[in-house]
Symmetry: C2
């Protein structure tokens, strides 16, 4: 999916919501666990109830890899289901891969060819040759970690002058255009989105940390929105685990709709 | 496998060789491609011919993930084969994972429980909470990227004062002891191993970049060895693709033996 089409979906749905599909078998409703593929069924029902309010889904690879072959199988089914049932959905592999050359090419093949993801999250530590192998796929995206929302972000991301995360933003833009490069910038540091926008005015930002991690959606929009919205705000636990009964999917849909309603207001206010 | 046992294996085998099992279906000998599981068969034959000269194997996850379910299946078979046939082998998942909290715990589960790896490579960008979830497994290891052997290492790893890679070495040692923490330090920067040893005297170092990438084994040993050897030097392509005929495994064995012979001399000289 290219940038114009993503922006079009945001306008159609009045939403820049990304739903994180971090399905943990220990947290999904009990009645699903007796089914043949509980992970798939959980995600399918979540997607069926939330797709009207979301423009993107982001399965985190760890949650599927931890179940080995069966988890990998569930993931493939989920990707296929979303891609065939909701073809306008932007699909992000939250993989945070970071390897070089031939190896990174293999990861690109895994996520862009073997599975039909639109985007993959990538870690910048190893530099240019860990990012470029993911580029050049038509309408596919690299989403590079810049400023993350976790506590440990303070350990290394502010080293140097300008700080490491800014150097990541700046260098990466010499490797790829805003048509194939997004950045991860955490909502728990929303005020820093101003600095991010100074050096990265056009890139879409994938923003985790709203909700369970405490980030403010209003601040994210105020400091981070550009004239093509430029934001995908992710919520995982606040939506998919909002209810643990057989109504979990309906409640997830309600939570997603609430966020969409807030986003609708913010799109009018700040874009 | 704990540190004493790893050192014992190094002494028994006169070797600190790690063989990178980066099996690419496009590079393996033609006659294997007709078999039911070419990736498994290729690796099995490599392992059977090289195990006398190596103390560790390091499959890179990308090469298996890129084949989806069947690749994942091959990987599991390889891990099981090595663990049951050569139980004293140190097995490294070259995964370069870097995610936080619950997600990182899932990766730990995937590699330490779902599969029986001894160690996993981890990326430091997200800081402490992306590393600690992998710790605390008995005799399991985190191998943290510090100074990598690729060209892109120059993009970010030298930012700051002391440079980022040194801050990674130093901070990580406040999170874990040398009994569960190793570092990746590339052989293409062997002279920097002196600086690494100043701040990390006791940690094992996983050293890629010898051979195809041009690093010198002699320099690695000279600058990097400590009194428990403290080195695992990896070679992938130089061993596993040394020959592309039906003698590939025998030639791989010869290449591994040559490296072992060099290592034997270096162990006497520098340890």
């Amino acid at each position: 999916m290219n940038r114009d089409k993503l922006f079009e979906q945001i306008k159609i749905k009045h939403s820049f919501l990304c739903v994180g599909l971090d399905a943990d078998i220990n947290k999904i409703p009990t009645h699903l666990k007796e089914l043949e593929d509980p992970l798939f069924e959980f995600n399918k029902q979540i997607v069926d109830e939330t797709n009207k309010y979301a423009v993107a889904y982001k399965p985190n690879m760890a949650f599927y890899e931890s179940y080995g072959l069966s988890g990998w199988n569930s993931l493939k089914k989920i990707v296929n289901y979303i891609k065939t049932t909701y073809p306008n959905m932007f699909l992000i592999a939250d993989a945070k891969r970071g390897d070089i050359g031939n190896t990174a090419k293999m990861y690109a093949k895994a996520f862009f060819e073997e599975m039909d993801f639109d985007a993959i999250t990538v870690a910048p530590y190893m530099g240019e040759d860990s990012v470029t192998p993911f580029l050049g796929y038509k309408d596919k995206w690299v989403i590079l970690l810049a400023l993350t929302s976790n506590k440990g972000a303070d350990d290394f991301q502010f080293i140097g002058n300008p700080p490491l995360y800014q150097q990541v933003l700046q260098k990466a833009q010499s490797w790829a255009s805003p048509d194939e490069l997004m950045f991860v910038v955490g909502a728990t540091r929303a005020s820093m989105l101003q600095d991010v926008r100074k050096t990265s005015p056009d890139n879409f930002l994938l923003v985790p940390g709203v909700g369970a991690q405490g980030g403010s959606l209003e601040e994210v929009a105020k400091f981070g929105m550009n004239n093509k919205c430029g934001l995908l705000v992710n919520s995982s636990r606040g939506i998919i685990y909002a209810d643990s009964t057989d109504k979990f999917a309906i409640v997830a849909g309600e939570k997603a709709r609430e966020l969409r309603d807030e986003m609708d207001v913010l799109l009018s206010k700040y874009m």
